[in-house]
Amino acid sequence: MVMPTIRETLAAWSRQISERYESLSMRLRRLKDPAHVDLAGRIGLFIPATTAILIIVLILTFLWYESMPILTSDVGGPAIFLEPTWDPNRDLFGIGVFIAGSLVCTGIALGVALPVGIGAAIFLSEFCPSHLRDVLRMIIEMMAAVPSIVYGLWAYTVMVPWIRDSVYPAVSSNPLLAWVPFLQGPTNGYSALAGGLILAIMLLPTVVSVSDDALRSVPRSLREASLALGASESETALKVVLRAALPGVGAAIVLSLGRAVGETMAVLMVTGNSLTIPYSLFDPCYVMTSIITNQLGYAFVFPLWRSALFAVALVLMLMSICFTAIAKVLIWRGTRIGAVV
């Protein structure tokens, strides 16, 4: 007897599998009432869809449960969300300071990443010659693959000194800017600005590639309609293409919001982690993810301390959900008139 080669065995297997699959699908098709098949499909898809919701609910419940002790205790209570002083040794668990830090860093990050990223996407999809575009897209996608700790190290060694030695001196010696309240110093470079900027750099690849895809899926016929009315290429890009691609660009915004609030390592390394509310871009700050990472290891000393850290995580989670929802509503309102993507 001749032994079948591996290739023959594999071929036989795949034939068997495909035959079996085909007979099943054919049998389903020949059912008296094909609607049943579709019902099966719907139930089959309903399960994964509800799983996602279930996981979110479970996480929220768990965070809620873990943060109950601090939220119900005398020294804590719901007021901690607004209080600015964090000193577990003196039973002060104000997590407002971290909320403020996170909001400022996220704000800076989005303020930089969205205009730059969407601008870059418009350049890539509307103005860039196609061979250059492929190269740029590849580089941008590589940016997304850089581990955040590497970004953090780079920011630590390059950006922090740059802010200390170049940016701040330039701002404070400029008579027009030196008076602006949120540009006050002094600074050692570790600042909300550094955190926001490194976050922005980390968000860029997502913003650029998701927006670029959305812009490129706008049909050519819309661009031609606009040009034929006498619009210039840039008017067409901004007023027709960007607008038609808004839902997709919005997806980029939502994705980056979530990432910006939740990012940990890089921000931790450059914001200075000082327990003060940042009133200036050059002030150090402390973001929510950082306090959890830094203190969870020894927070077991006081149960309330540990619980307060979970309360921070709860806020983080709720903030992400709210941001996503708000962004979705804004996008929905912006595109009610109908968009093609």
């Binding site: 031609e224 606009s226 009315l229 006498g230 290429e233 008017e235 007023k239 595109t335 008139i337």
Partner: protein, 252 residues
């Protein structure tokens, strides 16, 4: 003296190495419809899109010769393309309304060209819709999305949009080939109405349609202008055997 007469002189165009239009010379008169006929791929759209310089944006497109519009060559190096395109409107084969409201579709062009006054814009919206025979159907839903209209209504909206910047010339590239016969009929009637005010150049596959609506006709075959004359004459006695073959349906 034809103020807006368009004259094409020795036009040759290439896409990369491909020679698409060969030595085209013809003219388009005011307040008349000129039909451009020919089998698929013969260069009808290319000719049309050379007149508003829409081909300029296609990589590898090259053109020699001249096209005169109101007395000046539109391919002059210092010609303002945007101004030119404002004065030569275009309607495409597939309806392509912007994903905006009906009203915004019609104010888009005027706003681009600097009209800010709301009353003026309002007047333009109504005028263009009336000219496109769409006003009565959409007057109560100007703020609803244009993409919710039917295909035929969308195409009339696109005609209204082209008219909104008040161009003396209207290029139409097979404007009814994607529509049902009733919508197509409405748009044909519309074309006949519009020629009172506009110079219309109509690309069409459909010989009967060309005969129904046009005053002059051009027959393109593989990039060459085979026949160009009054429609009546061509319909009765085509000069070139290829035109006759196309009219009688033997090629196309």
């Amino acid at each position: 003296m034809y103020e807006y007469r368009i004259e094409v002189k020795d036009l040759n165009t290439w896409f990369g190495e491909k020679h698409v239009l060969k030595n085209i010379t013809c003219y388009f008169e005011d307040n008349s419809v000129t039909a451009i006929m020919g089998p698929s791929g013969c260069g009808k759209s290319t000719l049309l899109r050379s007149i508003n310089r829409l081909n300029d944006l296609i990589p590898g497109f090259r053109l020699t010769g001249q096209i005169f519009f109101a007395g000046s060559n539109i391919y002059d190096p210092d010609r303002n393309v945007y101004e030119l395109r404002k004065r030569i409107g275009m309607v495409f084969q597939r309806p392509n309304p912007f994903p905006m409201s009906i009203r915004e579709n019609l104010t888009f062009g005027p706003r681009l060209h600097g009209i800010k006054d709301e009353d003026e814009l309002e007047r333009i919206v109504e005028d263009s819709l009336r000219k496109a025979a769409l006003w009565d159907e959409v007057r109560d839903q100007l703020d609803s999305p244009a993409v919710h209209l039917s295909g035929g209504q969308q195409q009339r909206l696109c005609i209204a949009r082209a008219l909104s910047v008040d161009p003396p010339v209207l290029l139409m590239d097979e404007p009814v080939s994607a529509l049902d016969p009733i919508s197509a009929g409405k748009i044909e009637d519309l074309i006949v109405q519009l020629k009172k005010e506009y110079t219309i150049i109509l690309v069409t596959h459909n010989v009967q349609q060309a005969f129904r609506v046009s005053d002059q006709a051009a027959f393109l075959y593989m990039g060459e202008l085979v026949e160009f004359d009054k429609t009546k004459r061509i319909a009765v006695a085509p000069e070139d055997p290829r035109t006759e073959a196309f009219i009688t349906g033997r090629i196309g």
